[in-house]
Structures are given as structure tokens and as C-alpha cells.
């Protein structure tokens, strides 16, 4: 049995669902999302979900992140409440030579329109009294915030389905072939054919690429996050590495480990994460940790998004990136522009997979 669609999207995480939703705004049917599991089982369900811009460098990447973050203001009006809050972001520093770095960051980001203030010790403590008094200063920007990733993916999916998108869950893509202008996508539950194919399989994009003879340079980088009991609101801003969610829990995490696809947590990292948190916000010593989880960052070889058409195979697109929560509204918009109009409203050549050739 073969089922025909105009566009098949492999992977229904924040990136795949974001693309499906944005594409469905202009094309009402013919879109299928296939996920081998359920859409929050991958990186998108085990993330910190900062919508974070101001420290993203070089500034062309900061600018790209800023455009995406600006789309968030509209997104929640279109797809419903996703608990997006533009809290403002603080990146504190604890040594004098970091102050120089902060100043040059503020200057270079200003050139692309990202406003950053370099705060001195008193200013940062006045804004966020919970911070350690050992802090020497911080960069601060209004633009940063955070979102509830579970809600985000769920609302993308709901809105996409209302627009006519079909979802296949618990169905793994096992092979892909291109024949006479169509992709033949073999899954555990049968064959699908389509004209356009989007690869948005997160850390598994490498594995999926192999089905087409491609070597897509994406690999998993593990991150462990620990979560406190719900605490009375005491932090206003999103800090680099730690934030208080709207339900009062504090999410803490900064580890970056090469551990393949292993998603276990280890107390060694939880211990160092706890020390990191205490150095930043000493009062957390009184908080109870209720759980921890680990997730896999979708890490392209040079850490920048891989986004756009894949040259040599017509109608094949890729969207694989770290910081996919921040970038999903923009990635979704750009890939749908490519599919519907053949060009994008901002240049994306820099993110082409051809850079690895």
C-alpha cells in the first residue's frame, strides 16, 4: 500500500512540527509528519527551552536567533498559549577580564540590532537580588526569555492538524529512495510517496541521511538538567544556565558531554551542576532537588544550524540544529518559504550543508 503526500517531514520534534505548522498556513493538505516515537520523545522534550539570543555569536548568528525570537511574539497569538515569557536575559561574570569580553560583545551585537547593557555589580544585584554577591557584573538584554517546550510542540501539532496536517506516530522511517521525481519513504507501517521531503530527525538526522547516501555531520551532545521543588517566585530573569519556570521549579543545567545516544544521568554531573548553581544563586542550597533528566543536543559539526535545500537531490530539505527551541519559528518559516516559493525572505546560504563539502 502506498500513500501519496505532497510533503513528508521526517521527525515531529519542535523543528519538524514547527515546519509542518508553518507550511500548513499556506498549504492546507498533502503534509505528513512521521515520527518513530512520539514528538516529545527526542531532544524537544528534554531541553531547557531558553529562547536565548544575546550571547549567540558571531553576530550573524545572533541576528538569526533574534529574528526567530521576534517571531515568538506572534506565534503564541497564532497557535495558542505556549507560556512564552520575554523575561530578559542575564549572563553574569565573576572575573575582571570577562568585563572586557562583555563590552566587546555588546558592541558587536549592537551592529545587528541586539541591545545589550553591561551591568556593574550593583546594577546586576539590583535587578536580580538572588544572584551571588561575588558577581562582578553581567551582560543583560531584554530580548531573551523562555517557553514551555511541551506546550510549544503540542500547540504546533494541534494547529497543524487543524490545518489538515497528518501525523504518523510510532512509525520509523527505515529506507528512502528517489525515483522519477518522487521520494519513496519506507516505514515500519508501509510505504509513502511524496514530492518534497524534509529531514528534521534531530540527532538521528545522520542515520536518516545515510538512507539517501548522505553524510550529514550531526551528532548528539548530552546535557543533564536538574530540577528543584517548586519554590516561591524569587527570580525574575532567565540566567545563562538556570531559570525559574512559571510553576516555581528552577531548571539548572550546563553540562556538555560526548556520550553517544546514552541518555542516562550521572550523579557526578548532577553534583557539579549543583555546585554551578550554588556559585550563581547561593540560596538554592536550601532547595530540594526533585528530579533530573538528560537530553541530547542536536549538534552539527561546526555547531551552527544546517538549514535549506540539499543540492543534488531536488526537493530535499534539511533542518537540523542546536538551539532549536529558539530557532523553530524561523526555521519553520524559512523551510515553508523554500517549499512554497522556492526562495527565502532572508539569506540562508551560510547555513547550507554545502559548507561541509
Amino acid at each position: 500500500m502506498s500513500r501519496e503526500y505532497e510533503t513528508v517531514i521526517i521527525g515531529g520534534g519542535v523543528i519538524g512540527s514547527g515546519i509542518a505548522y508553518h507550511l500548513s498556513e499556506s498549504k492546507s493538505d498533502g503534509i505528513l509528519v512521521i515520527d518513530k516515537n512520539f514528538p516529545l520523545s527526542g531532544s524537544s522534550g528534554s531541553t531547557q527551552a531558553w529562547v536565548w539570543v544575546h550571547t549567540k555569536t558571531p553576530s550573524w548568528y545572533g541576528e538569526f536567533s533574534m529574528y526567530s525570537s521576534e517571531l515568538y511574539g506572534y506565534l503564541h497569538r497564532k497557535i495558542g498559549d505556549i507560556e512564552f515569557i520575554r523575561t530578559g536575559g542575564i549572563c553574569p561574570f565573576f572575573s575582571e577580564n570577562e568585563r572586557e569580553h562583555a563590552k566587546s560583545l555588546a558592541e558587536s551585537q549592537a551592529q545587528v540590532g541586539i541591545e545589550i547593557q553591561v551591568l556593574d555589580r550593583d546594577e546586576v544585584l539590583a535587578r536580580e537580588p538572588a544572584l551571588s554577591d561575588k558577581v562582578l557584573g553581567a551582560t543583560y538584554s531584554r530580548i531573551d526569555g523562555n517557553v514551555n517546550p511541551m506546550r510549544l510542540v503540542e500547540q504546533y501539532m494541534k494547529a497543524a492538524k487543524i490545518n489538515g496536517v497528518t501525523y504518523e506516530y510510532y512509525n520509523k522511517v527505515t529506507d528512502i529512495e528517489k525515483k522519477q521525481g518522487s521520494f519513496l519513504v519506507t516505514t515500519e507501517k508501509g510505504l509513502f510517496t511524496c514530492k518534497n521531503l524534509v529531514l528534521s530527525a534531530g540527532v538521528w538526522t545522520h542515520e536518516v541521511g545515510k538512507m539517501l547516501g548522505l553524510d550529514i555531520p550531526v551528532h548528539p551532545v548530552r546535557g543533564q538538567v536538574m530540577i528543584t521543588e517548586p519554590l516561591a517566585p524569587f527570580m525574575k530573569y532567565t540566567l545563562d544556565g538556570l531559570r525559574q519556570a512559571s510553576n516555581g521549579e528552577v531548571l539548572i543545567g550546563y553540562s556538555r558531554e560526548e556520550a553517544g545516544f546514552d541518555r542516562s544521568t550521572s550523579l557526578d554531573f548532577i553534583g557539579s551542576t549543583a555546585n554551578f548553581a550554588l556559585a550563581l544563586v547561593p540560596d538554592l542550597a536550601k532547595a530540594k532537588i526533585v528530579r533530573s533528566f538528560s537530553g541530547l543536543r542536536v549538534m552539527p559539526k561546526d555547531e551552527f544550524p544546517i538549514l535549506g535545500p540539499i543540492p543534488g537531490i531536488e526537493n530535499l530539505y534539511i533542518a537540523a540544529m542546536h538551539s532549536g527551541i529558539t530557532l523553530s519559528p524561523l526555521a519553520g518559516t524559512l523551510i515553508s518559504e523554500l517549499i512554497t516559493e522556492g526562495e527565502t525572505s532572508i539569506p540562508i546560504e551560510r547555513y547550507s550543508i554545502t559548507r561541509f563539502a
Partner: protein, 352 residues
């Protein structure tokens, strides 16, 4: 700290596992987050039946005491008031007493952390005074506190009817047991008839529409399938929910053991083979954590897991141990395949 077999959970299955390991001369340590051993048996006052010899005729808490007593002649180590919270990168376990994290390295683990009760949801289910049936049992039998004066029980499993009778015995006015389906779910005829003797009615095809009150339970609103459209008010000060139990999964997530859904065995539970061994060969599972629901099975799977842990330590089995395991499996089959054949079948297919 170091041990050969680290047992997580000192309930009946963990205690039974410890006996098999310690009596064969291997080192065992039991970690439990509670301040006493015995697990959920500590508040069970009914006679446990069926149960294999030498445990016949004992009440729940007495069975727990006997299982603890039996270990006294062996050098078993205990770490109470410590919760298993994670693994270190080298595979040793981290347990926390609230302040510090202790590191315990072990050659293998038996996970016997039991089950948690599931809720049923209706408007007002978070009001103080709504509790699980097991919580009511802990209050009356362990803490000697009345959960309330006048109550209602929602659900009709063996455990719910048994505890309803216990509440009646201590002088609590239970106005009824409501069961949404068209039949009593309890399978044990003795439990059903002993409830009937109390005169407490079981209202079939009846559902809780809502619980209300200012700051605590005051009224429950019931609707009956027999009289569509009619809703009845009852004045109560507590409501017990019998929502069944499900294996506690956190230890398995921590240990990266894959989970599978088995409806008959209580929902999600770790995958394990015929040796009660998870996909990680050094981790054995037993008792309610493994989806075993009958009391005999809890003790027997604990014992079997314990012997398998010994096999693991000794890199192979021995004839005496094999025949011992066979006796336990036969016993389990005899009890379970007559009481709850669907559960026995489900476990056989789970073990593959």
C-alpha cells in the same frame, strides 16, 4: 561503601531476596527510604493468604517482622532513611539521606522498590480529605489516626474492600463503596462476603460527579447508571480512591532500563527475562516493581531474584539453586494461575 548485592527497597520482596543471598554467604546491603523495614506490609493487618510455608497464617505486619527476623543471623547491612537517587558514572549507586549523597558500589542490584497508588480524577479530587485507599490504611493501622468520621470509597478491588472493612472495624462510618462498572472488581470471595457482613452497600454503576466543600471534603455528588439524570448528594468528611497501583519507575529510568507497557501487570514496567533480569545484566527486579501483584508472588519473585543474583555473582548456576528456583516458580504458578490466570499469562509473555 561496598557490597556484593545492593537491594533497593526493604519491603517483602527485597527482604526475601536478601535472605537468599545472605544465606548463601554473599554480602548484601538493603537501602530503604523509610525509617523501618517491611515496606507496605507494615500497615496490613489482614491475614495474608495464600502464602507459601513457612509464612502461612501471618498478618501482613507479622509477615514483615518474620522476614526481617529471618535475616538476623546473617551479616546483612541496612541503610534506612536513605533514598536511591542516581548512579555515578562508574556504575555505583548514590543514596541520599537528605543532606549528603553516599556512594555504594555493588556487583549487582535487586530493584524491589514496590508500587505507588494511582488516582482517579473528578472535580474536587485535590481537596483535603480525598486520599488513596492505601493512605487511609496507613493512617488507621500504622499512625493510629482516623482519616475522618464518615467516608466513601471509590472502587471495589480486593484491597479496597479489605480496607473498607478495616475502617468499619475501627468504628469509622463508611456510607458505601461506589463502583463505576457493573460488577464488584474484588476476586476474593472471602473478602467480598466479609464486607457484606458489615452491611456497607456496594453501589454498582455509580460514579463520583464531584467532591466539594470549603477547604475540605464536605459533600460528594454521585450519579447512578441505573437512574440517568438523577444525582445524589452525600455528606462525608473523607473520600478514598481505589485507583489501582503501578510499579515505581524512577529507579529504572535512572538505571536506563527500557520500559514496556503491560496492561495486566499494572502498566509501564521494566523489561525483564525469565531470570527476572533487566536488559542490564547486573540488575534484577522483584515484587511490585516488576508488576507482581499478589502477596505470595511478591515474596517468591524476591526469592527468585535473590538466587539469580547469586548465580550472577558466581558466574553460573548450581543444581541446588536451580531446584530451589523451580520450587518457587511452581509455587508461584500454582497460586497465580488459579487466582489471576491473565496476570500469570501476561508475565510469561513479558519474560518472553
Amino acid at each position: 561503601m561496598e557490597t556484593e548485592v545492593l537491594i533497593l527497597g526493604g519491603g517483602p520482596s527485597g527482604l526475601a531476596a536478601a535472605y537468599e543471598v545472605a544465606s548463601r554467604g554473599h554480602g548484601v546491603m538493603i537501602v530503604d527510604e523509610a525509617w523501618a523495614l517491611g515496606g507496605q506490609l507494615r500497615q496490613q493487618t489482614q491475614i495474608i493468604d495464600p502464602i507459601p510455608a513457612p509464612f502461612t497464617g501471618l498478618r501482613g505486619f507479622q509477615l514483615a517482622e518474620t522476614l526481617v527476623e529471618r535475616l538476623k543471623e546473617f551479616p546483612v547491612e541496612y541503610l534506612l532513611k536513605h533514598e536511591f537517587i542516581g548512579l555515578f558514572a562508574d556504575g555505583s549507586a548514590g543514596v541520599s539521606g537528605g543532606e549528603k549523597i553516599l556512594r555504594i558500589s555493588a556487583k549487582c542490584f535487586v530493584v524491589a522498590t514496590g508500587a505507588a497508588e494511582s488516582a482517579r480524577h473528578f472535580p474536587g479530587w485535590t481537596l483535603p480529605g480525598v486520599m488513596t485507599i492505601g493512605a487511609a490504611q496507613i493512617l488507621i493501622n500504622r499512625e493510629r489516626i482516623y482519616p475522618g468520621k464518615t467516608g466513601l470509597v471509590v472502587g471495589s478491588s480486593d484491597m479496597a474492600l479489605e480496607i473498607t472493612r478495616q475502617m468499619h472495624d475501627v468504628g469509622i462510618n463508611v456510607i458505601g463503596v461506589v463502583e463505576p462498572t457493573s460488577q464488584i472488581l474484588a476476586k476474593d470471595g472471602k473478602i467480598v462476603s466479609s464486607l457484606q457482613e458489615t452491611g456497607i452497600p456496594v453501589l454498582l454503576q455509580t460514579e463520583v460527579v464531584a467532591v466539594s466543600g470549603s477547604g475540605k471534603v464536605e459533600t460528594v455528588l454521585l450519579s447512578s447508571g441505573n437512574k440517568p439524570g438523577v444525582e445524589t448528594d452525600c455528606q462525608v468528611d473523607f473520600v478514598c480512591i481505589d485507583g489501582g497501583r503501578h510499579p515505581i519507575l524512577e529507579p529504572f529510568s535512572i538505571m536506563n532500563c527500557p520500559l514496556r507497557y503491560e496492561k495486566e501487570l499494572g502498566g509501564w514496567l521494566p523489561s525483564y527475562n525469565g531470570k527476572l533480569q533487566s536488559t542490564n545484566s547486573g540488575i534484577f527486579v522483584a515484587g511490585q516493581a516488576a508488576g507482581v501483584t499478589c502477596q505470595a508472588g511478591v515474596v517468591l519473585t524476591g526469592a527468585i531474584a535473590g538466587i539469580n543474583a547469586v548465580d550472577y555473582l558466581e558466574n553460573g548456576t548450581a543444581e541446588a539453586r536451580e531446584s530451589c528456583k523451580q520450587v518457587y516458580w511452581d509455587e508461584l504458578k500454582r497460586i497465580e494461575s488459579t487466582q489471576t490466570p491473565e496476570v500469570w499469562q501476561a508475565r510469561m509473555s513479558h519474560m518472553g
